[in-house]
Symmetry: D2
Subunit: 229 residues, 4 copies
């Protein structure tokens, strides 16, 4: 994964599948190309194949299990998402929590398959412990801010700062700030505080003008990075 | 759903995804056409689109949630599987149990979307209670026989007979017998006992000659039906 | 279980354990004796022994598993609650949902141990299906009303009426209405609509005068019963 | 918690509750006194009060939730086990896995209540990450050995060695080895490899002579400690 890193989580929103999802993916591709920035799309399992065939952005699964291939009706494993075109997966999203053993197991299984892993966490105290397990990235997201239009970078800047301090104890793990990011200014702030990227969902998925929203966010990220460089 | 009904559950077996899955789906399509029989394929979420584009057999999801479209990262909803090409879904598979509220909710949500629902149960006492909720079908599958090569029709014929008695209390609900079905003779027996069809998984998915296996099963089903008719 | 039936769910409220819980149990015992009515106390596992030793009211567990005695660290089984002094258990409470197989299994295991079973449900469509499994009682409780101070009997009287119609299809299963019951008038209404009793939690557990609250409720129940008789 | 530390997990075995459980607890107390060693008893929630009133050994819960006191029907919280007489709890037992957020939350909530926390893990890679969260102890227990009569100290000594190396990165966290410990020789070996104690369950709970078994184990531990000292 590259810096700055923008992850768009399609969740299971009304526009997260079918033609609408393809249209949103095309918008993300357009903005990514314009600004030469990586925008990852985390899409429902059913959409991985179609969207990865249609756009050049990296496609992630929103979840994946750690079991070996076998008798697991209704579950999706790393080999399946890879074959369908995914480059990685979210792990332990706040809407899909798993056990600690599953976190370790999923990071390993994704790595074995050459896939990226983004572990979602709400407690900054977990950043260092989980970073030791060497996922590609950690997405810190206080649940009380998710989908509330209150940006983590404004409301709880200390959560980003502390998470940044924690993640620095291990090299190479990317830190992404999520929750409540709705504008380029929020993104700018998060990256200035030390995050390597941001996670977005409702601000983009439920917007009337998703292209403008994404362009604003991306510009916020690029401005903060230039400023840091 | 038609009678006799054959459901092939791909589970998450090594050949359940990608090219191998397509090849197995093509085999199922060939046998279905030859014998003019409906063979339903229950495939991983990631494969629904590709397989439904490639074969004419009805494709089912192996699971689906009952939530309304919204913030449910990593979950798959009826609208998504329908858009991807599915005609129905398994519910409450023994490897993916859900709450009773979720059973009711999922049957409703599938119906709203014009999709079939197959509720998996292990206790025959549940057949009548769940049939009252009007799913398309009930798949009765004693977990102790799953994947053991011991057919429900041989080992526990009374489970089929009792389930048949129970399902008759409600009209129009199809009864499918699963677990340990490995030969045409097992299928024949199950249908003679009153089942409307059978569910298969390992016998087909792990076979060296899946085409021969499926043809044998299908012939067992047709023989039993001719016999009954 | 008797009619009318009042169930006080202590939940895990601040007064649900230790001396406070004993005090509340004593209040319930006092009112029960005064009015010669059965008031069941559903208490945390840790409190079953102490409270059942101290009051004559029937003590229920708030949950219980259906496994056989064995290697189930941290789980509580019917034999344990019985030995500690319980007379029954709630099953599938809206805060503790279980699979349909577990519902069947738990009803059976409680019966084997001579214990009562109260299955909690939110959908009236489930009342008949679950009543077929012969629990002692069904507690119908629309989750949107729980703890909101809006009584099921006022806000959704049709839910009680429909549930009553459904439960009548099987003899001997008691129907209890829960959610939002806060006054004797609510209780009166619920029983007039056909319920055999009511379930209470916050109205009693969080009240400044739990004795007055309970007496008011009990009187509402008795008035409705006299009126019906 | 003291060194060496012996934890007896009563699980939900046939003798885990009521009079039998009290009898086993008395045996443990007798051996503890004789040898002046701490033997912790992890018992079902329903037994905490009775057993803690009857023996002087520290009583632990086998599980506990991290929620704040409130509307959590059927769940047991730190305040409840403390009031009933417990001194600590097992967390994330292999038979009762929880999310990573729940692990952090439970350690904190136990600490707030002055209770000990023993986090169970199967992967040695998790030992350091979880030790950072400062539980009282970590119990390493490869699930493939649990209840198999194959001791971790014989079958997988490297798991203990690696776990010991990992736990040393944080001061004050005790390391306990579990799984398959059946004799004093197994205990001796585990402690010689660097463990601070052992966890036992079936070897004691299902034994015909639990007193002899426990005395043998305790002697193995003491011998290893003398040897180390």
């Amino acid at each position: 994964m590259k810096r700055p890193s923008i992850i768009l989580n399609f969740k299971a929103y009304p526009l997260s599948y079918g033609k609408d999802a393809l249209k949103l993916a095309k918008i993300a591709e357009k903005v990514s190309r314009e600004r030469s920035i990586e925008v990852i799309l985390a899409v429902p399992f059913t959409e991985i194949f179609r969207i990865s065939q249609s756009v050049e952005n990296p496609i992630f699964a929103q979840h994946v299990e750690h079991f070996q291939l076998g008798a697991y009706t209704g579950y999706i494993l790393p080999e399946m998402i890879k074959d369908a075109g995914a480059k990685g997966a979210l792990i332990n999203h706040s809407e899909h929590r798993i056990t600690i053993d599953a976190v370790v197991g999923t990071i390993k299984r994704l790595k074995e398959n050459g896939l990226e892993s983004v572990v979602c966490l709400q407690h900054y105290e977990l950043v260092h412990p989980i970073a030791i397990l060497s996922p590609s990235a950690i997405l810190i997201e206080p649940p009380e801010l998710i989908g509330k239009g209150k940006a983590i970078s404004k409301e709880r800047p200390e959560l980003i700062t502390r998470a940044v301090d924690e993640v620095k104890k291990t090299p190479d793990v990317i830190l992404i700030a999520g929750a409540g990011i709705t504008s380029g200014a929020d993104v700018y702030e998060a990256i200035k505080l030390g995050a390597d990227g941001v996670g977005l969902a409702s601000a983009f998925m439920l917007s009337k003008d998703p292209e403008a929203v994404l362009r604003d966010m991306v510009d916020g990220a690029l401005r903060a990075f230039d400023n840091l460089g």
